[in-house]
Point group: C2
Chain length 375, copies 2
C-alpha cells in the first residue's frame, strides 16, 4: 500500500437550500476541492460519490454537469457514513496504485421534497414506533436516560455538548448554525423526546463536501503546503453494540483497527470529529475512542477538555449539531475540517500545533468508518 | 495486481415476487454463491452490494439478516450497472491484495411498491416527455427508427433478437420467461412505443444474484473445478455517444480498454452478455464490441451467428429480455451465466468448449462496465 495525501478539500456551507438541487451543491463542492488542490476536473481518474437515499446513480447524474470524461464514477450509499465510505474507496484506489488522483464527494438534500429517510435502521424504527417513540430521537432519548441511570448524570453534561459544539460552529463560516447558545437555551428549547430538547438534536440540512486524494509524488508536485496524509482507514459493518445501546461498541472495535493501522493511540490525536447527531453520542464516543474510561465521559465535557483550547477538542467545526448533517456529505465535512486544522488554516477555531486528527462516522444499519489524518 | 478467480455464483430466479422483500432475495442469492464456493458467510472479508434505488444503506440492511461480522459492506448504486460495479469493486479489492475473499451481491425489486425508477437519465426523461414519448421505451423506439433509416432495415431483425433471447431463456431455469416466442408473436404483441411492441422490451422483474471472488491460491485450496479468472475489468463514465444515440459509443471505448487489459480481442470470445433492455441495443453492441462492422448488426442476428450454436452466441441466458432485469442484480446474473458456461455447467444452453466470455452493462446517466472472464 502506497502513502496517500489529501491534496484538496471543498464544501458548500451546510444549510437549508430549498431552491438548490444536488447537482448544484455537488458541483460547487467539487470545484472548490479541485481549486484547493490546484487540479482540474479532467485530472480526476476516478470518483466515488456518497449519497444517501438521493435516487439512482446520483453521482453520475450530478457530475455529468462537469462533463463526463471517461473516468469511472461510483455512487455509494452507506447512510450517514456515505461520505466517509466514498473517501475510503478513493483513498484505497490510490493506496493500491490503481490511480494517482481520485475524488470523493458527498451530497445530500433533506429539504424540498427529495428528503432522505431518518438515519436509523428500519426495524429499529418499527420497534420504536411500536413503543410510541419518534425515531431517531426516540432511540437516543432512551440511550441518554440509560447513561443518566448508569452514571448518575443529570441532563446538564449532554446539554453542555450542545453548548460547546454551537460555540465551535460560531467560529466556522461553513456551519449551518453560527450562533452560540447558552445552557439555559438548550434546556428550555422545544422538547422533541424526553429528555431531549431540539438543541440536543442535529438539524435538517442540505449540502455537499469533497476531497481530492493523490499519491505522495503527485501531491508533492502540486505544491508546498503541509502535506496531510491518510494514516489509517478502518471500516466495520456490525451490530451496533453488545450492550443493547446504539453505536458505541462498533466504534470501539473500528477505532482499535484504526489506531493499530496508524501506529498511534488516542494520546497522539490533537482533534477528533464524531457523529454527534444527538448529544449523548459524543459523550459515548469519548469513551469508545479511548479518551477516558467508561463512565467518565460526562466529566470530560464538564471539565472543558473537549473544547477548542482543551486537552482534546471534539467536533471543532460544530459537529452534526451546529455544522449540520445532510447525511451523505457529513463524513467529508469532517475530512474538510481536519485537513484545514492540520494545515493551520482553521482561522479562529484553529487547534494550535495540531498534527493528527481522527474522523468517526456511523451509518444506519451497522456501519462505522474511522480515518486518521496526519500532517 | 494479483490474479482473481470467481469461486462461487448464485442467483434467485428473476421473476415478479410481490410477496418477497429485498432481504429475502439477497440472502438466498448470497447463500447459493457461498455454497457454490464451499465457503461460509464469516469467510467473506468484504462485500459490495449493487442496489439501484432500493433505499438507504440497502446492502447492510439486507445482509444484517446473516449477522454482521465486522466485514465492511458497501452499497453501490450505478443504476443498471450496479451489480457489475459491485463485482468490479470486489474484484479490485482482491486484485490489490486488500482481501483474499470478497463478495458482490446485487438485489432489485420493481414490484410491490418499492419499485425503482426507469433506467434512464432524468433530463432525458423530461426531454422525452416534452416530446410526448414514454421513457425509457421512447428513447429506444427512436434509436430503432434511426437504425432502420440508416441501414435500410425493417423491424424484423430487431424482432429476431427477441425470438433468439426468448429461445435462450427457455433453456435457463433461472430466467423469468422460459417460453419461446415466434416472430409473429413479437410483431403482434402489444404496442409500447412505435415501432416497439412489448416483446422488444425487458420486463418488470425482482431478483438477486451474487458472486464470490478470491485470490488464486485461496481459489485453488477451495477445490478442483475449472478455475474462472477475471481477465479484465473496465469501467467508464461518460456521455453515451457522440452520434446522438444512447449507449453505443461508451461501449466501444470501454470494450477497447477491456480487450487491451485481457490481451484479447472479440475473436477470442466464445459468448457475450449485453444490456438488451430493448432489442436494438443488442444489435448496436454486436458492432460496438467488435463482432461485425458498423451497419452489419442486423445481418448478424439474421444469419443466426449470435444464437447458441452460432459463431458468437449473445445473451445465452435469455438476456434482459427473457432472463429479466431487476436493475441492481442484472450484471451479476451475467457473471453467473458466464461462470456456469466456462465451467461447462450450463446444461441445455451450454456453449461447447467455451473458455472466454464478455459481460457488458450500461447504467443510466452514463456508465459502462465490461468484464472478461476466462477459464
Amino acid at each position: 500500500m502506497r502513502e496517500v495525501a489529501v491534496v484538496g478539500v471543498g464544501m458548500v456551507r451546510f444549510d437549508q437550500y430549498p431552491q438548490r438541487g444536488i447537482t448544484d451543491l455537488a458541483v460547487e463542492a467539487v470545484l472548490a476541492a479541485l481549486a484547493d488542490a490546484g487540479l482540474a476536473w479532467p485530472d480526476v481518474q476516478a470518483t466515488w460519490c456518497g449519497a444517501a437515499g438521493q435516487g439512482m446513480t446520483a453521482g453520475t447524474r450530478v457530475l455529468a454537469e462537469l462533463g463526463l470524461t471517461g473516468a469511472p464514477i461510483t455512487t455509494v450509499d452507506n447512510a450517514s457514513a456515505s461520505g466517509s465510505t466514498a473517501f475510503r474507496e478513493a483513498y484505497l484506489s490510490v493506496a493500491c496504485g490503481l490511480y494517482d488522483v481520485a475524488l470523493a464527494v458527498g451530497v445530500g438534500k433533506m429539504t424540498g421534497g427529495s428528503g432522505a429517510a431518518p438515519p436509523v435502521d428500519r426495524r429499529e424504527i418499527l420497534q420504536m414506533q411500536a413503543m410510541g417513540f419518534l425515531p431517531p430521537a426516540g432511540v437516543f432519548a432512551m440511550r441518554t436516560r440509560r447513561r443518566m441511570h448508569e452514571y448518575g448524570a443529570t441532563i446538564i453534561p449532554y446539554a453542555r455538548v450542545s453548548v460547546k459544539n454551537h460555540r465551535h460552529g460560531a467560529l466556522n463560516p461553513f456551519a449551518q448554525f453560527q450562533k452560540e447558545v447558552t445552557l439555559e437555551e438548550v434546556l428550555q428549547s422545544r422538547l422533541v423526546c424526553d429528555p431531549l430538547t431540539v438543541l440536543h438534536c442535529c438539524p435538517i440540512s442540505d449540502g455537499a463536501a469533497a476531497a481530492v486524494v493523490a499519491s505522495l509524488p503527485r501531491a508533492r508536485r502540486l505544491g508546498a503546503r503541509p502535506l496531510v496524509r491518510v494514516a489509517a482507514s478502518a471500516f466495520r459493518s456490525e451490530v451496533y453494540s453488545s450492550d443493547g445501546q446504539l453505536g458505541p461498541a462498533i466504534t470501539e472495535l473500528t477505532a482499535r483497527q484504526a489506531y493499530e493501522e496508524a501506529g498511534a493511540g488516542p494520546e497522539d490525536m490533537h482533534l477528533v470529529q464524531v457523529h454527534d447527531a444527538f448529544t449523548v453520542e459524543e459523550i459515548d464516543y469519548y469513551e469508545r475512542l479511548g479518551f477516558c474510561p467508561r463512565g467518565d465521559g460526562e466529566r470530560l465535557v464538564e471539565e472543558g477538555a473537549t473544547t477548542i483550547g482543551g486537552r482534546i477538542p471534539f467536533n471543532t467545526d460544530g459537529g452534526l449539531l451546529a455544522r449540520g448533517h445532510p447525511i451523505g456529505p457529513t463524513g467529508l465535512a469532517q475530512v474538510w475540517e481536519t485537513v484545514l486544522q492540520l494545515r493551520g488554516q482553521a482561522g479562529r477555531r484553529q487547534v494550535e500545533g495540531a498534527t493528527a486528527g481522527l474522523c468517526q462516522m456511523i451509518g444506519a444499519g451497522g456501519v462505522c468508518v474511522i480515518h486518521i489524518l496526519k500532517r
